[in-house]
Amino acid sequence: MTDAKQPDAKQPDAKQLAAKQEEAVDPSAPVTGMDYFMKLEYHELLCPVVREFADALMDKRLIGHKCPKCGLIYSPPRGYCPICTVQTTKADEIEIQTHGIVTNYTVVTPVQYYGQEETEPFAKVSLQLDGGGTLSLQDLPGVPVEQVHPGMRVEIVWAPDDERHVDDVTNRSWGSAEGAIRGWKPTGEADADPSEYSDKTF
């Protein structure tokens, strides 16, 4: 897990401790606390279906797997349908549309714990893409949180070619892929009728 050859993993505790010391008001005051910086770093192979998803993102495409039995679409692909308990393969891969409907959202009010980079409330939305497939944990950059609502029609905003990456796509990511998908922007069309997106996602 911890690897001496990883330069970014080099002595983070020392930096933390030094930074803390700089904050100290009185350098001669008794030492009453000890910072203990714990870091677990995992290196793992991307599983094949997630790798396909990541490669497609770099090509500005969204892909999913369509269950051959029940027809449900999984994006990112999982390699199986947990409902039918059948395997899905490259043969079940389909292209997902890059426009769709906001089905739900959560406004996160950031608490300034260690590692939190956001300072203002922000929304994460779930999407149903036109033609099938869903994505969760997506951003609507530039849209005030109070204007976010179910039924909004949006289209994808890819990160520019020279900035696009899939470093944050892991075996456990849920399709947020912030390095590749900058977010989604409203198309300006009229809201979708609830019947278009109700009882279809889970």
Partner: protein, 149 residues
């Protein structure tokens, strides 16, 4: 890296701060100020690192601190051939129990001796302090063979 072997990396970080209590507070305040402190046990021995409780009786100890070291004797050691990023030095070293001068118990710390051949039970070592100290056991970067200092 071959396309079929793509690695993904992620890290989980927990920045804890522990309160030290009266004894470790004194010990680490001493470290910051460039001195190593032991504590007197009920039977008059000097314990370093200091403990809050007498190891024989479990009774609380009075804050009777004694400066020890910075020199001492290695009583046992283990050589580390491949240090990780969490280790005190970036080259092979020893973890050792060091009975500091004036103390009756061993302090676990690193000995930076250069090579395993330079290590010996009973060898004398002394503390190599960091210039910038913050009140942490790593304020002594490592102990080094006394002759080398």
């Amino acid at each position: 890296m071959p396309a079929d072997k793509r690695l993904t990396t992620h890290a989980i970080e927990f920045p804890y701060t522990r309160t030290l209590g009266p004894v470790y507070s004194a010990f680490l305040t001493g470290m910051r100020d460039g001195q190593i402190l032991g504590i007197k046990s009920r039977d008059g021995r000097v314990l370093c690192p200091p403990t809050e409780w007498d190891p024989n009786t479990g009774e609380g100890l009075d804050a009777d601190f004694v400066e020890v070291g910075p020199g001492g004797v290695v009583t046992t050691w283990a050589w580390v051939t491949e240090p990780t990023s969490k280790h005190p030095v970036d080259h092979p070293f020893a973890f050792a129990l060091i009975k500091l001068d004036g103390a009756d118990t061993g302090l676990l710390h690193a000995v930076d001796a250069g090579s395993m051949d330079a290590m010996q039970t009973g060898m004398r070592v002394t503390a190599r302090w960091k210039d910038e100290r913050i009140g942490h056991i790593t304020d002594v970067e490592a102990f080094v063979p006394e002759a080398a200092k």
